[in-house]
Symmetry: C2
Subunit: 373 residues, 2 copies
């Protein structure tokens, strides 16, 4: 098993939240990356009983000082030889700055060896049109993103970072172009866009109504984007932690694709492919294809397991008899949230051996703003 | 892969320490149990940069209140349907008490279904003749052990709990007997004893000089022990986190063995086998055999990897040129400690498919105190 692993040995520093129960943040990312053979150092930014989707939780947040202090602990014991840093949720603007300082320090240490360190940053700020962090977290991210090699905003976060409202394929491409230019960040993936909800030119074939589109790009030498897209069927359920699963899989699969591209790319700063590599042949595109294949299988299995669990619970639950309507409703909500926890542990084979069903596509020229065509 | 898993689905609450870098405590236990298909809720009792074997670390300890609070978070969201609790290091007497209260609460919730919840307790207090916790932690453990189903002391901890100095096979058997009786704990494994250092009766065959012996026992109805032993070759290196690896593997393998024994045992309180099951046929003995096979392979691989890493480091290290003798020595110590981190991630196949080389043996009657013969 482990000897078949296609992912090269990778030492990752993962900075994100920890939950006792369930799979989000570092709890998800660590498991996913370890399943693919990565050696993960997990620096936890919060210590919660469960994810906030339950609408209640207990626990504590790490201060910026605690985060810096843990990193200082690694430094003093010479434990910072990381190949990749994956940074996710940080609970305050000061914590975001502390994470930024860690990324910068690791970059500085790797300066002499271009490509030996790569920073993937998930700018966790909000979703579905709404910030779920303090307002001051946004400028804190805007400062540190300049130093990241790849960022993974969702549609809303891409809007916040670009200042462009994404209402069409054309504005989507515009947003990515602006992000590349404004933050000099060489790789971007917008992790999920519901294109069926966007207005589109009548000349392009319709996206199936229940599909999600992931859009990525690696810049060329002149800073222009190389855009690719992968469409995947959307599942009829909201799952927490999928962003973290996406990011963790991307760490492993991107490194794999970069290694597969030969020794020259992996000793190139930020792993930016030569200009003659087309969008769909980018390591970023190849990685995304595998990432989405794994995710789709695991989420399908999760949906099956969720439905089975809810059916079983409906039969079993006698203890709710004496409860008020409101209490019953809360209980039902908690049960449904628990049942939708992503089932990773027993579906590791789909992480290791993704079944590729969805390919990366070049963007239709018709969808691009005139100046990108 | 996951579909071949022989370990039944198991929901574990693991309470132990977290380190950012390396593999001890919950960082080790979570990975090991997840690799065997267990769903692990990880409640972390400390948040350190690295294990204390480095002789320096940064980070914070959870208070007893924080531990209770996280558990309260699980309770309020109906997230406590655990099959097994594994409790390890707790940083204070109050924290040990808080962990004890969690174990008791889970037992109370499972009362109506005997065998549906099992508590494995690793009474982490010290090693090699020396306590590394505050003195008041000892009485705190002595209070909660009464409620555990299986405890996993090392030789020193078994001495502390039994009040018997282990100097021979006979006193070792005595210590286990006293632990069963004093704490009414049905299963005990003493996780490593260097029998070659103990005086022994001349009638028993000599243990190979570099071997470690693991001794376990499950009580009979009359409270008397059923003793078995497994001898494994000792490796010439100290590894941190092996106790945590042992405990985590035991969770999965014991549950597997209990399920294999049929439905009656797993609905028996504390999974105590009928009196006619001989020591070497106990699920505890069968589990121990698999646990030690996995551990031996992973530690052999670790030793190889360590040696390779130290050789590579010796060639590479130019940066030490300007350092003082003391600084060089410290650096060398840190490097050696890092190189000895247990290599689990890329050796998961040895956890999943242990190669059995060491069998459980019945104890020689000659080694037992007269009243046990």
């Amino acid at each position: 098993m482990s000897s078949d692993l296609s992912v090269p040995e990778t030492r990752v520093l993962a900075i994100a939240s920890h939950v006792v129960y369930g799979y989000v943040g570092n709890k998800m990312a660590t498991l996913v990356m370890q399943s693919l053979g990565c050696d993960v150092a997990a620096l936890n930014t919060v210590h919660f009983s469960n994810h906030t989707g339950y609408r209640q939780f207990k626990g504590t947040r790490s201060t910026a000082e605690e985060i810096s202090d843990l990193y200082q602990g690694l430094t003093q014991s010479l434990l910072t030889d990381f190949d990749v840093m994956l940074s996710g949720y940080a609970p305050s603007a000061a914590a975001v700055e502390a994470v930024g300082a860690i990324g910068l320090d690791l970059q500085r240490k790797a300066e002499a060896k271009p490509g030996s360190f790569f920073w993937i940053l998930d700018p966790v700020m909000g979703d579905q049109g709404r910030l779920y962090v303090n307002d001051d977290v946004v400028p804190a991210y805007k400062k540190i993103i300049h130093h990241a090699d790849l960022i993974l905003p969702n549609q809303f976060e891409a809007e916040v970072l670009s200042g462009i409202k994404i209402t069409s394929l054309s504005t989507l491409a515009e947003a990515i172009t602006v992000i590349h230019a404004t933050y000099s960040v060489p790789h971007v993936i917008i992790t999920s866009v519901q294109l069926s909800k966007l207005s589109r030119s009548s000349s392009t074939p319709a996206t199936p109504p229940n599909s999600l589109t992931v859009i990525g790009s690696t810049t060329k030498t002149d800073g222009s984007p190389r855009l690719f897209r992968v469409d995947v069927p959307a599942l009829d359920c909201f799952f927490s932690g999928t962003g973290d699963m996406f990011a963790a899989l991307t760490v492993a699969r991107l490194r794999e694709a970069v290694f597969a591209a030969g020794p020259s790319l992996r000793s190139t700063k930020s792993w930016v492919s030569p200009d003659d590599v087309p969008a769909t042949e980018l390591p970023l595109a190849k990685a995304t294809v595998k990432v989405l294949a794994s995710m789709h299988s695991v989420l399908e299995k999760t949906l099956e397991a969720r439905d089975a669990e809810l059916r079983a619970a409906a039969i079993e639950d006698e203890s709710a008899a004496g409860l008020s309507g409101e209490e019953k409703e809360k209980r039902e909500y908690l049960r449904r949230t628990k049942a939708a926890e992503v089932r990773v542990v027993r579906n590791v084979q789909y992480l290791r051996d993704p079944v590729i069903e969805f390919q990366a596509q070049e963007w239709d020229k018709a969808d691009l703003p005139a100046r990108l065509q």
